[in-house]
């Protein structure tokens, strides 16, 4: 670590506009991918796989489930950082 920088340089994501640009881009791609489901024909192995937006919804719900479940898991398994160092 060298703390000898003369002036704090402005980096790419120091500007909140760039951050919101990325997030807006993501929203745009999401909308586009969802709409493509109506335009492009997907071949499916199972019927339920063909439901419009199946994969998009699945990905979204899966991740929300993971995060919420992990939050509950943390309540059970979380210990102090030195938990094992004491008396180990």
């Amino acid at each position: 670590m060298n703390g000898t920088e003369p002036k704090p340089r402005q980096h790419l994501f120091d500007n909140p506009r760039n951050v919101s640009l990325v997030i807006r881009g993501l929203y745009g791609v999401c909308i586009l991918l969802f709409l493509l489901d109506f335009i492009l024909h997907r071949h499916v192995a199972r019927e339920w796989e063909g439901i419009t937006g199946f994969y998009a919804l699945f990905g979204f719900i899966a991740c929300v489930t993971i995060v919420l479940t992990a939050g509950q898991l943390r309540k059970i398994v979380k210990r102090k950082e030195d938990y094992y160092d004491v008396d180990e």
Partner: protein, 570 residues
């Protein structure tokens, strides 16, 4: 170039010896040349079907058994050893250099082993040589963790040996071919492989030890041990249905831990188990497509996982910490490392054009083909999950998120070169999969790039990213906080030691009490003895050694007399 039946481990063992006695550039040259020459030898000279046998006493060790399956893993380990060696080139630590070479050699020995005894020998050598990559960190934590790692790894070897002996007893053969879950030998060997493959509840050595290894050591560790186990399972237990369920559990439970884990290399260790789960599922399905998928996934996995471990190793090396609660904003000082990490993250998440996409999809396709609809959904869930924790969490909290204020230098050149080679391979495999497919052991027609597959995968992943952004904005995403999360290692790191300790102190107390009671009874008896008339005699007061000797002499004299009178009688 060389004789074609030269076992693949030999160059690495020789190099390890040479690395012991050389320093500086000469040693660097040896370390880099060995995987190149060894790999060329394997590629040019060794063809499927080659067997090298070494007789020892009355037994024949099959040191080299080359077929398409073992050869592919052989190529993979040479490539990995090469870029991992470049990544570690700045390290001036003989222990790490030598153990890295020995570990690579042992891994190759295990992959090309044609019989269970040879496999056992290299199985144990892998454990012993690799533990030094953990101990080389030299912290108290690393030493303890390495010891646990070693004990568990050696136990796996002992189980393998026991299984081999039982198999020999029943069949008279020690050949390492299809084993299956028939009889006790099958189960013992299955368990031995399962430990090294980090089956659920047997997995904790991995998440315990890998994050404690040195920044460079973790790269070797992440690549070799578990993939040898995958290879061994693919050879010994293809089509074992139990594996599909074990694999499905492996893909899922680590995700939850990864989300709340603070040590980013431990996040990677959990996601390693998740990826192994896909391979284990493939082995369980056992069709040609599934097994090809497993092998292909092992191939791309080793490279992108090593890339991720390298990038986090570089962060640890430069920033001095790998805790996500202390990191953030590192893209400002380490932009190249950040970019390379993102390539690894995109590969593990199976984005189209990256390596994970072309291999994982084979396993998924095989799964739904065989009618495992529910498990297919579980794997799809895990696919979204892996993007979440390895694809987003690792690069985001290390390089972006809030600015931690850490300003450091970009990773050293050798590290950047090592990572770049891996990154190029990730993209190459992802965009030109037919080269990898041509090497796969079984003949199957498969092509990953079609509209459906690309579209659905992108939808899954991008909406998973949307969930991340949304949860972060709402503030629901679990904060990165310094903590330890209990896992199955709690059993042997806390519960058993604590139980043993309290049992010991209980027994000690009880013992002391019994001793006290006995002593006081004895003293009471002595006191009451002295109070009696007998107490007046000297002998009762104390028992000096002299009187003891006197009485023994008396007793012996009586015996002698008795014996003499006895023998005089006719």
């Amino acid at each position: 170039m060389w004789m074609s039946d030269l076992p693949a481990f030999v160059p690495f063992f020789i190099a390890a010896l040479l690395a012991l006695i050389t320093r500086g550039r000469v040693r660097n040259l040896i370390v880099l040349a060995t995987p190149v020459l060894g790999g060329l030898h394997l590629w040019l000279d060794v063809t499927p079907g080659i067997v090298a046998v070494v007789p020892i006493m009355e037994y024949e060790l099959i040191l080299m058994r080359a077929d398409r399956l073992s050869l592919l893993f052989g190529y993979l380990f040479h490539i990995t050893a090469f870029f991992a060696a470049i990544f570690a080139l700045h390290v001036r630590d003989t222990t790490q250099t030598v153990s890295g070479l020995l570990y690579t050699g042992s891994t190759l020995g295990a992959v090309f082993a044609g019989d269970l005894i040879t496999l056992f020998i290299f199985w144990e050598l892998m454990a012993i040589s690799s533990v030094f990559l953990i101990w080389a960190r030299q912290s108290e934590r690393a030493i303890r963790s390495g010891m646990r790692y070693l004990i568990i790894q050696v136990t796996s070897g002992v189980l393998l040996f026991a299984g081999a002996m039982v198999q020999y007893y029943h069949t008279g053969s020690l050949a390492f071919e299809f084993i299956g879950l028939e009889g006790i030998s099958g189960w013992l060997i299955f368990l031995a492989f399962g430990i090294k493959c980090a089956f659920p509840l047997l997995h904790n050595w991995l998440t315990d030890a890998y994050p404690e290894a040195t920044p460079t050591g973790a790269v070797f560790l992440s690549a070799f041990t578990t993939k040898v186990a995958v290879y061994a399972l693919a050879r010994g237990f293809p089509g074992t249905e139990l594996l599909i369920y074990i694999g499905a559990v492996m893909t899922c439970f680590p995700i939850f831990y990864a989300v709340i884990e603070n040590d980013l290399r431990r996040v990677l260790a959990y996601s390693l188990i998740n990826q192994l789960g896909f391979m284990v599922c493939g082995i369980g399905i056992g069709t040609a497509l599934a097994l090809n998928g497993t092998v292909a996934h092992a191939f791309s996995h080793v490279i992108y996982k090593a890339l991720l471990f390298m990038s986090m190793g570089a962060v640890l090396y430069r920033a001095g910490t790998i805790k996500s609660s202390d990191l953030g904003g590192l893209y400002k000082s380490m932009p190249k490392t950040a970019l390379l990490c993102i390539i690894g993250a995109l590969s593990i998440s199976a984005f189209p054009l990256f390596s994970g996409f072309v291999s994982k999809s084979m396993i998924m396709a095989a799964m739904i083909e065989e009618g495992y609809d529910y498990l297919w959904l579980v794997l799809l869930f895990a696919s979204a999950g892996v993007f979440h924790h390895a694809g987003i969490k690792v690069p985001y909290f290390a390089f972006f998120a809030r600015d931690s204020g850490i300003r450091t230098k970009e990773a050293p050149l050798n590290m950047l070169i090592g990572m770049s080679i891996a990154a190029v391979l990730c993209i190459f495999i992802g965009t030109q999969p037919h080269y990898l497919y041509a090497l796969l052991p079984w003949e199957v027609e498969y092509w990953p790039y079609d509209t459906t597959h690309v579209l659905t995968q992108l939808q899954l992943l991008i909406f998973a990213a949307l969930a991340f952004v949304w949860l972060n904005k709402l503030g629901i995403y679990p904060r990165e906080i310094p903590a330890v999360n209990l896992d199955s290692d709690w059993l042997y790191r806390k519960f058993l030691p604590d139980t043993a300790r309290s049992a010991y102190s209980f027994m000690k107390k009880t013992g002391n009490r019994a001793e006290d009671a006995f002593d006081s009874t004895l003293q009471d008896a002595a006191k009451s003895m002295i109070r009696t008339r007998l107490g007046r005699f000297n002998l009762a007061a104390s028992w000096p050694t002299g009187s003891m000797v006197f009485w023994i002499a008396v007793i012996l004299g009586i015996f002698l007399l008795a014996d003499a009178t006895h023998s005089i009688r006719p």
